[in-house]
């Protein structure tokens, strides 16, 4: 039993020395500290994709409703024209129909634009996903390097740890209570105006 404890102690010391020797202690610490950030980034992705889906479905519902109404009105006006073409024009049914179609078309176009704008989640979540992938890759590389260094001498070839590059911060995940981050376009405009732009 004493021998087992002694061997565990030696392994622990070896692991500690290897981490320090490789400079991995700090790197692993940094990576682990970034994990809660990764969690909030994934929550952000879930929220953004959920919001986008909601927006698209709402716009589709409204556009379809307008489309159904146009179809119904078209059938109705067609019946009126077949029945009495002169009366259909004279009583203003045709003109009312044309005005109605024009207004509905504009409204449908607005919904289509909203559907298009909702696709911006692809860009924003894509940037966030890239950061989370980068973090997991860093942790994986550090752990693999650690395994290689502490394993019995078979191969000592190591994979270089990916260089961290995040000079730019990407989408603001939790901008609340952070005075260095703007939360709306009006804040951007105010900031630029204060600089004379």
């Amino acid at each position: 039993m004493h021998d087992v404890h002694q061997r565990i102690g030696q392994l622990t010391r070896q692991l500690h020395d290897s981490l320090n020797g490789l400079g991995l202690t700090e790197q692993l610490k940094d990576s682990v500290e970034e994990l809660p950030d990764a969690k909030s980034r994934l929550t952000y992705i879930a929220r953004l994709t959920g919001d986008a889906a909601e927006k698209v479905l709402n716009s589709v519902d409204q556009a379809k409703s307008l489309h159904d109404e146009i179809a119904r009105e078209t059938r109705r006006i067609a019946e009126l024209i077949v029945k009495d073409p002169v009366a259909a024009v004279a009583k203003g049914h045709v003109m009312n129909f044309v005005t109605h179609v024009e207004q509905s078309s504009k409204a449908i176009d607005k919904h289509l634009t909203e559907i298009m704008m909702a696709q911006d989640f692809h860009d924003l979540t894509g940037q966030v996903i890239a950061r989370v992938v980068s973090l997991t890759t860093t942790i994986e590389e550090q752990l693999v390097q650690l395994l290689i260094e502490t394993a019995p001498a078979v191969s000592t070839k190591t994979t270089p740890v990916a260089e961290r590059q995040h000079a730019l911060s990407g989408p603001a995940i939790s901008p609340e209570n952070n005075p260095d981050i703007v939360t709306s376009q009006s804040q951007v405009d105010d900031l630029l105006a204060s600089l004379g732009f």
């Binding site: 692809h122 860009d123 911060s169 981050i181 703007v182 376009q185 900031l191 630029l192 600089l195």
Partner: protein, 129 residues
């Protein structure tokens, strides 16, 4: 209201390039090309005539700040207004963009009205409209 102005839309995400191009088209600016990073954008800007650049910041190879700097130090390109459309919401990035000569700054996600508003302001200010 169609005009002859030619736009270059720079963004590493094809979805966003498509959205911006569609919005420009809806605003009457159908003449637009696109580039997926600063290097490709700079090549296109030097190869043919563009009147306006709408650029993202966070891109591979050459980011929006580097592209802006290259445009502003090039005698033949420096007159072209550059509107930054980006997810970078830090005040220091906004200030840096303004100091480097960006004509405007829009934070993603944005609305059609915001893009039209900034575009019109810049076009009027630069005499392009």
């Amino acid at each position: 209201m169609a005009t002859e102005l030619r736009f270059l839309v720079v963004d590493d995400f094809s979805t966003m390039r498509r959205i911006v191009r569609n919005l420009l088209k809806e605003s009457g600016y159908a003449e637009a090309d696109e580039a997926e990073d600063g290097v490709i954008a700079l090549g296109k800007l030097r190869a043919s005539k563009f009147d306006f650049v709408v650029s993202d910041i966070n891109m591979p190879n050459m980011n929006g700040f580097q592209l802006l700097a290259e445009i502003k130090k090039d005698e033949k390109l420096k007159h072209i207004p550059v509107l930054m459309v980006t997810a970078e919401a830090r005040k220091e990035d906004i200030v840096a963009a303004a100091q480097q000569g960006a004509a405007g700054y829009i934070v993603k996600p944005f609305t059609k009205a915001t893009l039209e508003d900034k575009l019109n302001n810049i076009l009027v200010k630069t005499g392009l409209k």
